[in-house]
Amino acid sequence: MAAEYAKLIGDQPGAAVATFTGYVRGHAEGAAVTALELEHYPEMAQKVLMTLGETAAERFKLTRWRIVHRHGSLAVLDSIVWVGAVAEHRGEAIAACEFMMDTLKTDAPFWKREEGVAGDKWVAQRDTDTRRRERWQ
């Protein structure tokens, strides 16, 4: 995370810097999760995340932004996703992080497969994610 933060702020940190990190949960719906497999569509993911960052930059007047999304096999407590935004004011930097997270949850082509004691299952998209995404339209 420190390396990503350093890349985000570069040589001249802006007045307001906000970041968010998402980690692999150890449990889901009451059952223990032992590992997470993240499938992805590489070419589309690259385009979607790049466009997302550029859209956020324009909408929230960011001077710098960064999005990192891991894929493949992850362990519990590993980080999955990290977003960062630099702006002149805290409102814009924080809102940009929320916007980037709410949007990538439904728009970025990654799929989580939870491995647990009871077996493996694909995670389903949540209604809350759809609603949060719609807030930004």
Binding site: Y41, I80, V81, K105, W111
Partner: protein, 89 residues
Amino acid sequence: MSITIKLFAALREALGESELQLDLAEIASDASPADVAAVKAVLANRGTDWREALHQPNLVHALNHRVVFTDAVVSEGDELAFFPPMTGG
């Protein structure tokens, strides 16, 4: 003249394929355009598992890496992906 079909996640698992080529001649005819709906109809002919998988209500279609609806027209060299709702982040 063909297009590339890609399948991901639970769809890929259910159908046992991740990528295949489809001849445009199979999809288009003089009467109907080669759109995503036509591609799904041709693939559904492969069997009940294909028909069921492609008719899930929340299926997402991405043409050349952009989400589209079933009326999107496909052309030679295009890449059309089918997958369940995304769960990243």
